[in-house]
């Protein structure tokens, strides 16, 4: 079985063997993820968002001051200052596909109902009672860990950082998800995360980092309680 996720160039001689996830070891050229690198990336995201907001707000204000006749153009600038950060947060929110969501890329008709039930049964065995209830209600599996509190979907994962105010949205999936029931996809991500959290973050691509409320308003209503629970856990 050939997996596209592992077809990577071999490391140069002398590269130390990385313990943990094989997938992370295959990405030998990537930096390791730590609290410090996450903080740095978070600051970059915040700076970028501020720059985008300023870049559109400043001309809008200037135009209004210049002449009231430019008001329509100024309003367009201000709308951009609001829409661009909103789109970024929306993209982050949509990078995670909860269980039961139609955006799975694997239409329900490609897996039979019995297989889906078997997969959900195993996933239910992997999570604790409280998390199982949350998973059933929201479609997201909660996993507290060292870097933060994670919420894994059948594709993608959120990580609420300690304190509960910032969220990171990670693009990650089963490399070859063909035919896998949705529950198994979540189980794949959950197992990989539990095996090696830093390796998991190294393999995943950071799609957004910012205030948790910005992502929450872009989530499906049924999944919002999962984010609330993760924020609560991260704030402890």
């Amino acid at each position: 079985m050939a997996h596209p996720g592992l077809s990577k160039p071999p490391p140069p001689p002398g590269t130390p063997l990385r313990p943990g996830l094989d997938e992370a070891a295959a990405l030998w050229w990537r930096d390791e993820v730590s609290s410090d690198t996450l903080r740095r990336d978070g600051r970059r995201w915040s700076a970028w968002t501020t720059a985008v907001a300023l870049a559109f707000t400043a001309p809008g204000v200037f135009l209004v001051l210049l002449s009231p006749l430019t008001l329509p153009v100024a309003l367009g600038c201000l709308a951009h200052a609001w829409i661009v950060p909103w789109l970024q947060a929306r993209r982050g929110a949509r990078s995670v596909v909860p269980l039961g969501c139609r955006r799975s890329g694997n239409p329900p008709e490609t897996t039979d109902g019995a297989a889906a039930d078997v997969a959900l049964g195993l996933l239910g065995d992997l999570v604790a009672h409280e998390e199982r209830d949350l998973l059933t209600r929201t479609g997201l599996a909660l996993q507290p860990s060292e870097l933060g509190v994670w919420l894994a979907g059948q594709q993608g994962a959120f990580m609420v950082r300690p304190g509960g105010r910032r969220i990171d949205c990670w693009c990650v999936r089963v490399a070859d998800p063909e035919g896998l029931p949705a529950g198994d996809r979540v189980a794949h991500l959950l197992l990989a995360l539990r095996e090696d959290e830093r390796g998991f973050a190294k393999v995943a691509n950071l799609g957004f980092s910012g205030a948790a409320w910005r992502v929450r308003r872009c989530l499906p209503k049924r999944s919002r309680p999962a984010l609330d629970a993760a924020r609560l856990r991260a704030a402890r």
Partner: protein
């Protein structure tokens, strides 16, 4: 009874079962695990404390060994 399962399109398939005293069953499970690892699958042992461990050989103390496909950045 310990189990080796593979996550696949059926939900999961039990590939081997063994007990500590059953040497033949354990050997068969070891061979099956190796065959799956050679085929690109990855083995994980979920622990009761909510952690999991990557394994490359059949662990003697595990109740459940799960074979999964690799993950990748999206």
């Amino acid at each position: 009874m310990a189990r080796l399962i593979r996550l696949d399109r059926t939900g999961h398939t039990t590939l081997a079962e063994w007990t500590e005293g059953d040497v033949a069953a354990r050997r068969a499970a070891t061979e099956t695990l190796q065959h799956e690892l050679d085929g690109g699958m990855l083995a994980s042992v979920p622990r009761a404390d909510g952690s999991a461990e990557v394994v490359r050989e059949l662990p003697l103390d595990a109740e459940l060994v799960v074979l999964r496909r690799p993950i990748a950045g999206g």
